[in-house]
């Protein structure tokens, strides 16, 4: 008998919240290191021993404030951060037993204030200055919130219907429920930030309008859609980001194949494969043209995928999607071997002649990264490898125009916490710029 799969069951948040007892025991286990390495490793440098000891002392509002002071999206980060590579990976207790569950303690403290509707910050005294933020993802929301705390009048323009960026549309519910992302949007709004959704710069919002109406601009536009594969049959390939978005917004309406092939081996690809598997696909295979060693998914994500029963085909390049009557029936691939290092420094994969074979499947999902921000061209901004180029202060080649988040991530891996740090530091830089200009005016 066919088992009925309930998406809200199989996709629900993977980790349960810590119980009060678990949180207390874990908080007490933390050594309260001095100049703690976990804090250094956190891109937003949350004072981790401080927030953990506040959990231990029963000062949960103070704990949440400590987190949110450094990282306004602390509730999202608590869930989505690759903690194995960041804070927890640096915990001194890795050497002794096992690291402190920093992410889950962070979630415990931030959930405490969100569940009770406690606001830990207030808007600052008005400066009379106005700042426009383009894009309501983690970078934009953080920048907006930090500026509101400093007394700026901030308007966020977001092209989508809901704010939150990829926290709302892109991170699978297994890691973060949509409500958590939306609660952060509401918190930023309560700081006095105006969030205008359905407003896209370059479509129904003009650059002149933005420049004329505001003293500074922050661009947190993220990246674009999944790029083209450039192979025959592509029109039947599903876009990985839309696949994930559907799993969050309308899981019942998401069509999942019986045999699914996911092209790519980054974290997004793992997410797509996880969804397919959990929503009932019999077989899910990830196809990657390089080897296991070059894959960009974090080691813990790879382990998770294997535990989920996802199969991997390394050194395999898709060459054609096979269709029958408009229906996907297979993915034709060629085997690869590793050659000399390419521009990225990794060994370049090259096809093995005559090694074509067909992977039978009825759905192909592509998750091979995201397109570079096209806004850079439109605004005539200088770029670096296609990303918006900024200086140490997150200022673009246009004075008074700042940028942060995925759209500037020419180096390093894109993550929410990095976007938050950009948004925060850019806000401070904007504040410096605008107070300096005030000072000059007074001269």
């Amino acid at each position: 008998m066919q088992q009925v799969i309930k998406p809200e069951e199989v996709l629900k948040e993977y980790h349960p919240p810590l119980t009060d007892h678990e949180a207390l025991v874990e908080a007490h286990r933390c050594l309260y290191c001095y100049d703690a390495p976990c804090t250094h490793a956190c891109p937003t440098h949350i004072d981790i021993p401080k927030f953990i000891k506040k959990i231990a002392s029963g000062n949960l509002v103070g704990s949440a404030r400590t987190i949110l002071e450094a990282n306004l999206m602390g509730a999202t980060c608590a869930r989505v951060c690759p903690v194995e590579e960041l804070c927890e990976g640096a915990c001194v207790l890795n050497a002794e037993e096992k690291p402190i569950m920093i992410g889950r303690l962070q979630r415990y403290a931030t959930d405490y204030v969100y569940e009770r509707g406690i606001d830990v910050f207030k808007p600052g005294p008005p400066t009379g200055k106005r700042v426009a933020v383009i894009g309501a993802g983690p970078a934009g929301l953080t920048c907006a919130g930090e500026l509101a705390k400093l007394g700026y009048s901030v308007t966020v323009f977001e092209k989508r219907e809901l704010a939150g960026g990829l926290s709302t549309y892109g991170i699978i519910v297994l890691r973060e429920p949509v409500e958590v992302a939306l609660a952060e949007v509401e918190m930023v709004k309560r700081l006095g930030v105006e969030v205008k959704t359905g407003m896209e710069l370059g479509r129904n919002l003009s650059w002149e309008e933005v420049r004329a109406g505001y003293d500074a601009v922050f661009l947190g536009v993220g990246l674009g859609a999944v790029p083209k594969l450039g192979i025959p049959g592509e029109e039947q390939v599903v876009d990985g980001l839309s696949y994930i978005e559907a799993s969050k917004m309308n899981p019942a309406g998401l069509k999942v194949g019986r045999q699914v092939v996911v092209i790519g081996a980054g974290n997004t690809a793992v997410d797509c494969a996880t969804i397919a598997k959990r929503l009932g696909a019999e077989r899910v295979t990830m196809v990657y043209r390089r080897s296991e060693r070059e894959m960009t998914a974090y080691p813990h994500e790879y382990e998770f995928a294997k535990k989920e029963g996802i199969e991997f085909r390394f050194l395999t390049q898709p060459v054609e999607v096979l269709l029958e009557g408009g229906q996907v029936v297979g993915l034709k691939c060629v085997r690869m071997r590793l050659g000399a290092p390419d521009a990225s420094g990794r060994p370049a994969p090259e096809p093995v002649p005559g090694s074509e074979f067909v992977l039978p499947c009825d759905q192909v999902v592509k998750a091979i990264g995201q397109e570079k921000p096209w806004l850079a061209q439109m605004l005539g901004l200088e770029t670096e490898k296609g990303f918006i180029k900024v200086n140490q202060d997150y200022e673009t080649s246009l004075p008074g125009v700042y940028a942060g988040g995925d759209c500037i991530r020419a180096r390093g891996s894109a993550s929410t916490v990095m976007a938050v740090q950009d948004g925060k530091l850019a806000a401070f830089a904007i504040h410096r710029r605008l107070t300096q200009s005030l000072g000059m005016a007074a001269d």
Binding site: Y32, G89, V92
Partner: protein, 461 residues
């Protein structure tokens, strides 16, 4: 296997572990089960004057996520009738001839009352009597318990009423709520006591409820001082125990001491033995975990005695007492410095902050190249475990500046990572007492002290 049996003033038991007079020894059924579990003896819950107990009578001190590091109680002596207690004591003793059954007693401070209770206890066949001069609450307000133990004359008077009639050994249980336990102990010996036991509980208030402002525990809106016991009191108990062990009069008398106060593991037990206890009593640890803890108390003590080559308990008793000294006799030229084992160090840098903020600022943070660096020196853009770990500085002691205070050793979370290493001071041994005799001006006048330091090469910054 070492021989764990003891002979305490004629009271024999197969091992030195007795349940202290407290809730665990409240009834015959409990003591039966305790003996089945392997306890060597039991001091019956104090019997005597009629009482009424209250609810919420135990408070507890929890710390750092650990439950009941100490208990505090306003429980009185047994609230079961004298008759029932005596019947059950008789029954237990009949079933367990090889175990020590000692009965704790406390009655009004009248000779007839004491004589009467002694005779009744002897009639049960019990092996000994313990006089409870320690209870710090409830009974003391009625002129019993610590009200007796705090006044050596009362202590002597009452003890003599008992020893005059008793034909079984009499143990006097001392209260720690005194400036020194020596005077009451001497008083008990003068009155012919056959053994001493200590400590009873310490006066304490556990805390205040931050929501209701009521005391913890809350007894119908009120609260007050109670008796403190459990792991947290062990160092106090060890000190009081050793103060008896080094007292001339107590030592000459040769009476055995039953030690208690915080004994939880065989390690605690061994320390009490080394500082002069012959038998060991346990209450709080049993109240926390039950009678079963006797297994490792015996097993662990046995293994330790075997490893150290001790054949009998008597060989252990008091072995560390000769090392008890006081500040006047410490060698002021003894010098030790802290040394960090970089292999074991996990770089929590707790030693650094402890020394830097509160000791002598002699631990440096050094980078991989060996350069001294300040804490918090990373850039806001630096992140990730690799950068955090590869650039993390390591603490290193500047031994020439280290005064050897031992703070870092105490805070280091890694066993055996910071060792206090004895180093030659280059100075002949000298004690404060000797200085007071040979160079009194040095002990009285700062400029003489400074000259002395220069002369012998002591530098303190």
């Amino acid at each position: 296997m070492a021989d764990l049996s003891i002979n305490f003033a004629g009271i024999r038991s197969p091992n030195p572990f007795w349940l202290a007079s407290a809730p665990p020894t409240n009834s015959g059924a409990q003591v039966h089960r305790a003996f089945e579990a392997g306890w060597g003896g039991a001091v019956w819950k104090t019997i005597g004057a009629p009482v009424l107990n209250v609810s919420n009578r135990y408070g507890a001190w929890h710390y750092g996520g650990q439950r009941m590091l100490a208990i505090n109680n306003v429980e009185l002596i047994s609230d079961r009738s004298l008759e029932v207690n005596l019947r059950e004591i008789r029954d237990v003793k009949r079933h367990w001839p090889d175990r020590a059954v000692i009965v704790s007693a406390m009655v009004e401070s009248k000779p007839e009352a004491w004589r009467e209770i002694v005779l009744k206890i002897e009639d049960t066949g019990a092996d000994g009597i313990e006089l409870n001069y320690g209870c710090p609450h409830g009974m003391s307000e009625r002129g019993m318990g610590s009200a007796v133990g705090q006044v050596p004359e009362y202590c002597q008077q009452i003890t003599s009423w008992v020893t005059e009639v008793a034909r079984i050994p009499v143990i006097v249980k001392l209260t720690p709520n005194v400036a020194s336990v020596v005077p009451p102990a001497r008083a008990a010996l003068a009155a012919g006591a056959h053994g001493l036991s200590l400590i009873n509980t310490i006066n304490s208030i556990i805390g205040v409820d931050l929501d209701t402002f009521e005391l913890i525990p809350n007894i119908g809106g009120k609260g007050g001082h109670g008796g403190y016991a459990g792991p947290a009191v062990k160092p106090i108990a060890l000190n009081l125990l050793s103060s008896l062990g080094v007292d001339e009069v107590v030592r000459k008398s040769g009476v055995p001491i039953s030690g208690m106060g915080g004994i939880t593991t065989w390690r605690d037990a061994a320390e009490f033995l080394l500082l002069g206890a012959t038998s060991l009593q346990v209450c709080t640890a049993v109240m926390h975990y039950g009678f079963r803890i006797i297994e490792d108390l015996v097993d662990g003590l046995n293994a330790w005695m075997d490893a150290k080559g001790f054949k009998t308990i008597a060989e252990v008793v008091g072995k560390s007492l000769p090392r008890i000294s006081d500040f006047n006799d410490f060698d002021l030229s003894f010098r030790a410095v802290a040394r960090i084992n970089p292999e074991k160090c996990i770089r929590c840098n707790l030693c650094y902050v402890a020394c830097n903020d509160t000791a002598h600022q002699c631990i440096d943070l050094v980078d991989a190249q060996g350069n001294v660096v300040p804490p918090f020196r990373y850039d806001v853009h630096s992140n990730g475990k690799r950068e955090a770990l590869s650039t993390r500085p390591q603490p290193r002691v500047r031994e020439e500046d280290c005064v050897g205070c031992r703070l870092c050793h105490n805070v280091c979370p890694v066993e055996g990572c910071i060792e206090m290493v004895e180093v030659p001071s280059g100075r002949p041994p000298v004690t404060w007492r000797e200085l007071m005799q040979t160079r009194p001006e040095v002990t009285e006048d700062w400029s003489a002290m400074e000259r002395y330091r220069k002369e012998v090469g002591i530098e303190i910054h």
